[in-house]
Symmetry: C2
């Protein structure tokens, strides 16, 4: 079992590619995933789980159908299950996602941006 | 449903008392709890769940039976279920705990430090 101390920014510095989810730790059946982002994502929802976004570096916009949330470093939001959302990031940012293992990044929407290539770092 | 942006340090600044767990968000059946700490805790384990500690401010020591982990701001550790641990903090620090709702702070040890007075902030 891994009981190492994880430094979030240090882990982030090891990620060389954008838009590739990297698992950093597992808690029960949940993954903590780091991703470097610079793009506008697609509208989607997760019908069976909430999802947490924590900004580790930079800024992230999370659009819901009725409002736009702007998150900076050290800020988080819970997107409740069933709630449509779309992330966007004009400058590169690093986000920590917390959600059950098996959760697809594109949720119910599917499509070309679906990423099933989870790797640990 | 709460879809507000939560700033961890801002939430921390609202906590005026030490050693009182404050729920900041819920993700499925998990609570994210902030606590300000300045004490040595007791040895205990959680027999049915992993537990995540993320340091928001200051430094936290997490002792396991075979090693001592030192966490600074922006660092995290997963204490696996069944693994005995003891936290300690000589200077005030703020820690974000992630664990299932209903998880007792003293785990299997119980005793006077058991805190059942969970409040939201």
């Amino acid at each position: 079992m891994n009981t190492s101390v994880i430094n979030l920014k240090e882990k982030s510095s090891k990620i060389k590619e954008l838009h590739s989810y990297k698992i950093i730790v597992q808690m029960n059946d949940y993954y903590f995933k780091l991703i470097k982002v610079k793009r506008e994502f697609i509208w989607h929802k997760h019908t069976d789980t909430d999802e947490v976004f924590i900004v580790v570096e930079g800024s992230l916009q999370v659009s819901l159908r009725d409002k736009i949330l702007k998150l900076r470093e050290g800020e988080l939001v819970v997107v409740p299950k069933g709630v449509e959302h779309k992330t966007a990031c004009s400058e590169e940012c690093t986000v920590l996602l917390i959600e059950p293992a098996g959760t697809l990044n594109t949720g119910d929407a599917g499509g070309a941006l679906t990423d099933t290539s989870l790797e640990w770092i």
